[in-house]
Symmetry: C2
């Protein structure tokens, strides 16, 4: 990365999504023992768009080597650093119901860059226990203490709609930098932290829309 | 809707997402007893973009009334029809683990337009039982029969990576029109049906990216 471009705008979600796909492609190449690859080779092998790969990367610097392509390991390391994935961020999940435990135990939430450090619940029968893969379940009353102690950077809300917003405020006040909300209610912007509301209905509605379109 | 525009391209996911948000806004207005609203009023109230609302809707016909704005109930009914949400589609979830049961019981998956009709599992201790909200758990061996009998239109994969692709193929062969995959493996395109792979890592990676950017 010789000449990082000047950036002032936040990265659009679509770019971030494409860089996530590229990062997976690079991991795949590395596993396959491939050391260098052109954008065309990466695109063909992983169903991506080569021009888009070059365009996305150009926003962040000069990564390719003329006549060679990209050095897989090097580009992967750069991308990870760029996306803040070089270190492991601790996640804390509020709600140890089916969804919270599914997320705590999922490969997705314990992938490179992330580790679920804690579940929180109000249910005394769950508190003190662990999820299937061993994530400890703490009393939600100790939320603030545990967030600090475990250096939790991202809070996940997997609770019913009712308690979600006050928990979001507590997590923000306790010092998390970002929130991912799965509760069926929109958590509004909170000062100083990132909030992402995930609504799985959108996926269903998109499929329904396409099913309806395909019949016309 | 006087003059539906000619459309040949599939609806982009971003448009579908915005129309989902608009549909929610219209439901909100209806609940609040509002009968007509301009795109400016809808945009201001729900944090949307008024020009984008008009542009998105213009793709599908003429919905507004000059000098009045949109008739809320009418536009909502049109949008629901357009998105295939006027009828209730039956969903079938493969995998009655934490994630499958969380989805079966979630408000998101039993919202207007959708109803979870069945869970499927291999575990004999679960088969014959029900989820917390009463969704029956069937033996996965009976998948094909139940998909036909219950007219399941959308299959959801909430199983480990290992069995996901063969289950996707069985659901497709049994006649579902679309698949939503939560398993940590990419289900490839299958002939004649829609496949949407949902990977929750992207949300985490996007937050991580933004956290990294905000520190530079």
């Amino acid at each position: 990365m010789n000449k990082p471009a000047e950036r002032t705008e936040p990265v659009p979600e679509a770019t971030s999504h494409r860089l996530s796909l590229l990062l997976r492609a690079l991991r795949g190449l590395e596993t396959a023992g491939v050391h260098t690859a052109t954008s065309y080779e990466i695109a063909a092998r992983f169903g991506l768009n080569s021009a888009q790969i070059r365009k996305d990367l150009a926003q962040f610097g000069e990564f390719g080597v003329r006549g060679v392509g990209y050095r897989v390991g090097e580009l992967k390391a750069h991308l990870k650093a760029l996306m803040g994935l070089s270190k492991t961020r601790a996640l804390g999940i509020a709600g140890a119901g089916n969804l919270g435990q599914a997320l705590a135990d999922s490969r997705n939430f314990n992938a490179e860059g992330f580790r679920v450090a804690a579940l929180f619940d109000v249910d005394g029968r769950k508190v003190g226990g662990r999820s299937r893969t061993g994530v400890p379940i703490y009393d939600v009353q100790a939320l603030e203490d545990r967030v600090k102690e475990l250096r939790i950077e991202i809070g996940i809300l997997a609770v019913p709609a009712e308690g979600a917003i006050s928990l979001a405020q507590r997590l923000a006040a306790a010092g998390v930098g970002a929130l991912l909300n799965f509760a069926p209610v929109t958590v509004p912007a909170l000062p100083g932290i990132l909030v992402k509301n995930v609504d799985l209905t959108f996926f269903l509605e998109n499929l329904s829309f396409q099913l309806a379109e395909s019949k016309t």
